[in-house]
Amino acid sequence: MKIQIRYFASLREVLGAQEWLDMPSGSTLGDLRDVLIGSSARHAEALARGQAVRCALAQRMCDEGTVLVDGAEVAFFPPVTGG
């Protein structure tokens, strides 16, 4: 299934605004993060476990156990700092 991945703030500066990836059906957000980490040295550093990275699915905050669906919009970003 095709997954749209969007990045914001410091992650966008390193990885670009968005990319698409094919994932096996039943994959979770955590599985996707693992695949991304394996895709380049830049991804590995920016998305490393232990880095403060938040994620969203369909524009809602989610944890990594969330199961993805075909065509899903996923986003990775640093902790939020508005207000």
Partner: protein, 158 residues
């Protein structure tokens, strides 16, 4: 009744915002407003400008959900949130949270609740420019702690 959430580049007029909230509801007996502004210093350094990024669509939806939560939790008449994005300078206004209620107590609480919620759950990111270059602002664990006062957990700052 006007829109509840506005995320935009343009500045806001505090008096006009409050007047609009009051004009449509004679049951209002209290208006509480918070305005956040750009500080000219951060971690001991002078800040010359600030840039605010958001997640178009998600940011607005998240704030709408916060206002729904405020209505469920407090006896308020209305709430309005304006948050600016783009390039801002020291002393510029960043955010407005305005809440109306029949009596002051609920409006005071709901305004603080909305700001605590927004700080940790609304997708905005600040980048400061200083003499040493620009840097993304770190999230504060004290903001997570502020939300916990309302019985809500937040792991935003990690």
């Amino acid at each position: 009744m006007g829109e509840r959430v506005s995320v935009r580049h343009a500045d806001f007029d505090l008096s006009a915002e409050v007047a609009t909230l009051r004009a449509v509801d004679a049951g209002v007996g209290a208006v509480v407003v918070f305005v956040g502004t750009v500080r000219d210093h951060s971690s001991g350094q002078n800040v010359s400008r600030m840039e605010l990024e958001h997640y178009p669509g998600m940011t607005e939806t998240a704030i709408e959900a916060m206002i729904d939560a405020a209505h469920r939790r407090f006896d308020i008449r209305a709430a309005r949130v304006v948050h600016r994005i783009g390039v801002l300078e020291p002393a510029d206004q960043i955010v407005l949270v305005a809440v109306t209620s029949a009596h002051r107590g609920q409006a005071f609480q709901a305004c603080e609740f909305l700001m605590d919620y927004l700080k940790t759950q609304a997708p905005f990111w600040k980048k400061e420019s200083t003499a040493e270059g620009s840097r993304w602002v770190d999230a504060r664990s004290s903001d997570d702690a502020a939300l916990q006062r309302w019985g809500l957990s937040s792991g935003n700052a990690g």
